[in-house]
């Protein structure tokens, strides 16, 4: 191919570094074929090689603008995929947050109903900590791994639902069983919810960053 057209394609390729390698190669392959056809058509009209190349490039437009437009088009597709991922993360996380309490709350209820809240055994407190902190963190991590785009937002929704539901169910449990509340339980409950939210969002962010690093490694 004419050297001017190769230079043109080199400039376009330089603007496509944001694309995965396979997509970048495919774009350049298609542009090369178009330029080759345009060059051949211009030569068939009697133009010199240089003139045919220059006219082909002129009709194509500035390589910088073309590169930006191609990347923008690909990013539009990625944003749409990210939006689908966000809703996927949000729906999955909220479903898990309601499903798990429904499955596990009855077990906690059954094991603690005969105990006075001021006299819970140490394993009960450990279980409560695991339940109130561990489940939101697990939901956040799963959200970040499965849906790396905007996973934290879906997780924050899930954590809010999870914490709210767990707090409501615990309140109902306590009020129905007339258990004596442990000292500073309200403060402890608020701190636990805050910690659960923060750790869940952190887990989602860390897992989504780890997934993104893997994807970037595939692009290189």
């Amino acid at each position: 191919m004419h050297s001017l057209l190769e230079d043109y394609l080199t400039k376009v390729t330089a603007r496509l570094t944001a694309l995965p390698l396979a997509h970048r190669d495919e774009e350049v392959r298609e542009l090369r074929e178009h330029l080759r056809n345009a060059f051949a058509a211009n030569r068939a009209q009697g133009q010199t090689e240089d003139a045919a190349a220059l006219y082909a490039m002129r009709d194509f437009g500035a390589p910088e603008i073309l590169g930006v437009e191609v990347v923008s088009a690909w990013r539009r597709g990625e944003r749409r995929e990210g939006l689908r991922s966000f809703w996927g993360a949000a729906v999955s996380a909220v479903m898990l947050s309601f499903l798990l309490p429904h499955l596990i709350n009855p077990l906690i209820y059954a094991s603690l109903q005969h105990l006075n809240a001021g006299h819970w055994p140490s394993w009960a407190y450990v279980m409560v900590w695991i339940w109130f902190i561990g489940v939101p963190v697990l939901v956040g991590a799963m959200s970040g791994l499965a849906f790396p785009k905007r996973a934290a937002i879906g997780t924050a929704l899930a954590v809010t639902a999870c914490s709210g539901y767990s707090l409501i169910s615990l309140n109902l449990f306590v009020s129905h069983r007339h258990l004596v509340m442990a000292p500073n339980f309200m403060v402890l409950r608020t701190l636990m919810s805050g910690a659960a939210c923060a750790l869940s969002i952190f887990a989602a962010w860390a897992c989504s960053r780890w997934r993104e690093r893997d994807r970037r490694r595939l692009r290189a």
Binding site: E33, G61, L66, W74
Partner: protein, 113 residues
């Protein structure tokens, strides 16, 4: 008189050209030029981002086809959704053209006092 093709019209024109049959990028550009009798000038580089968007929307599908002579060529064809969308956008453009024609006719007849 040559005019630059409006960017927003390009996807509709691509769909209309592909409605006639599958084609590759260079041929789509030439067909747009032929249909406009060389009045509309298409910046050919803008064709490929528009094709990519149409692919993402599921309206067209591109397949690399080997050629007897020369390099492989990516040929685009309308999907089922693309065929419906092509008809819809063609009608929208026609309605728009009719509206502009009507408006300009009214401006011509509405003489200031």
């Amino acid at each position: 008189m040559r005019r630059e093709l409006a960017k927003g019209d390009l996807p509709a024109l691509i769909l209309a050209v592909l409605a006639a049959g599958p084609n590759h990028g260079y041929a789509i550009a030439r067909e747009v030029e032929r249909l406009s009798e060389s009045v509309l000038h298409l910046r050919e580089g803008s064709l490929y981002p528009a094709l990519r968007v149409l692919e993402q929307d599921g309206l067209i599908v591109g397949t690399w086809k080997p050629q007897i002579k020369g390099a492989d060529r990516k040929v685009y064809a309308l999907t089922e959704a693309g065929t419906k969308e092509a008809q819809k956008r063609t009608q929208e453009l026609k309605d728009y053209a009719t509206l502009i024609h009507t408006m300009l006719g009214r401006i011509g007849h509405a003489q200031p006092a």
